[in-house]
């Protein structure tokens, strides 16, 4: 049932493709076709660098249905370098290692599986940055 929605969102989910406002230069994520800064139409695709820092976070010990096997996991508000704030799961990190201000980078991971026979849904998560040179 979720197939068409997952398919439409794939570019946004796999690789953080948002939009850039041609009028004021604001980078927009998730894409919404209207600039939140100047309210002008904005539909030019823009691929985010995926770099950001943890703004706030919470660790989930009792997960909603479909996410039980991943507990405990941490969900964070990540402030992207380009400006927008995005909510996403953190990965490759122990929940007691997470800190506010921690530099993170986007990776594409499995978000959930629709049972053993259904679709595997991939999307962005964030992990502590590996590469320090850029």
């Amino acid at each position: 049932m979720e197939l068409p929605k997952n398919w439409r969102l794939r570019k946004q989910r796999y690789s953080m493709v948002g939009e850039i406002c041609e009028k004021c230069g604001a980078r927009i994520f998730p894409p919404r076709d209207v600039c939140p800064e100047c309210s002008k139409p904005a539909a030019t695709p823009y691929t985010f660098s995926g770099k950001g820092t943890v703004y706030s976070y919470a660790t989930v010990f009792q997960a909603p249905k479909g996410f039980e096997e991943y507990v405990p996991y941490t969900v964070a508000m990540v402030k992207l370098e380009e400006g927008p704030m995005v909510a996403a799961q953190l990965t490759d990190v122990d929940h007691d290692e997470v800190k506010i201000g921690m530099p993170v980078e986007m990776v594409t991971r499995k978000l959930y599986e629709e049972g053993e026979e259904g679709l595997i849904v991939y999307g962005y998560k964030f992990r502590p940055r590996i590469h320090k040179s850029n």
Binding site: Y14, S15, T108, L111, I120, H131
Partner: protein, 354 residues
Amino acid sequence: MGERRLLKPERQVGITGYGAYIPRYRLPASEIARIWAGGAVGLPVKEKAVPGLDEDAATIAIEAARNALARAGIEPGLIRAVWVGSESHPYAVKPTGTIVAEAIGATPHIQAADWEFACKAGTEAFQAAIAFVGSGMADYAMAIGADTAQGRPGDALEYTAAAGGAAYILGPAEESLAIVEASYSFVTDTPDFFRRPYQHYPQHGARFTGEPAYFRHILTAAQTLMEELGYTPADYAYAVFHQPNLKFPQTAAKKLGFTPDQIKDGLLVDEIGNTYAGSSLLGLTAVLDVAQPGDRILLVSFGSGAGSDAFSLIATEELPKRRNLAPFTRQYIQRRKEVDYGLYVRYRRKLEMH
């Protein structure tokens, strides 16, 4: 004899970008020995890389591919093929290549397909990518080897079956980090290792895995390639062999006349295990991380079934300029979180609820 054995394209081709990925988790072989052998057993490797719950061959391939793109410095839309070699594709039907290509922004003017040939599925894709670019049909093609290999609990393979992958962008020699001088492939029908449909774990003929399978194919492929090119081991700065355990590649190197120094930088199996289709290709990423312009590199894969692909490469002046545009393979190896057998069983979903 006049037989044409070497594989050489019309147009010279090279590696214009390369990238590695190794998951964060490590399971020491001593943990497996503790559970299944009371600790009293020789260990084929020190430890192996284990994927997290949200990782599979597609996510491993995506990160390796992004690293390759960063080093190549090209628009993803210029890539005309994304080919993924693996024996752990997430879907039985639905190409991993489509997911990877979409995630890196290479769609839609591409070919995308999955390759299978046990541990040499990735180098098979590499050969095809050389031909695709070498014929002039495409300027860039991506070949990936990535796996999340599983061994039956308690089986000898469980000590080594690991997760990881490497991606390569093949392109014009003029833009390359390393030029492909020539390649050669050697294949026979050998039943050393196999898995039937719907079976979770493979079977392996214990007596069959060494001499008639691994050594015969690796040695023949390497010797033929060097003979036809007029080279000896002394012409190479580095050699990388498929590494199912620590002993096999060390023995193969010795039989061919390579020194331990020539193979040490590309020999990762003791620290990450056997990453199957990723194995020799990951070893090559570690060599490209340190090689100097003019260094000649020999790469020889092995896939059960059985066959080997051998490649002769030369590093260019571009390599030191562009290799720091993505994480080094050693950085992934150092990113290490040890897990015990219990967590491993949970992460690999080996637990059945009754």
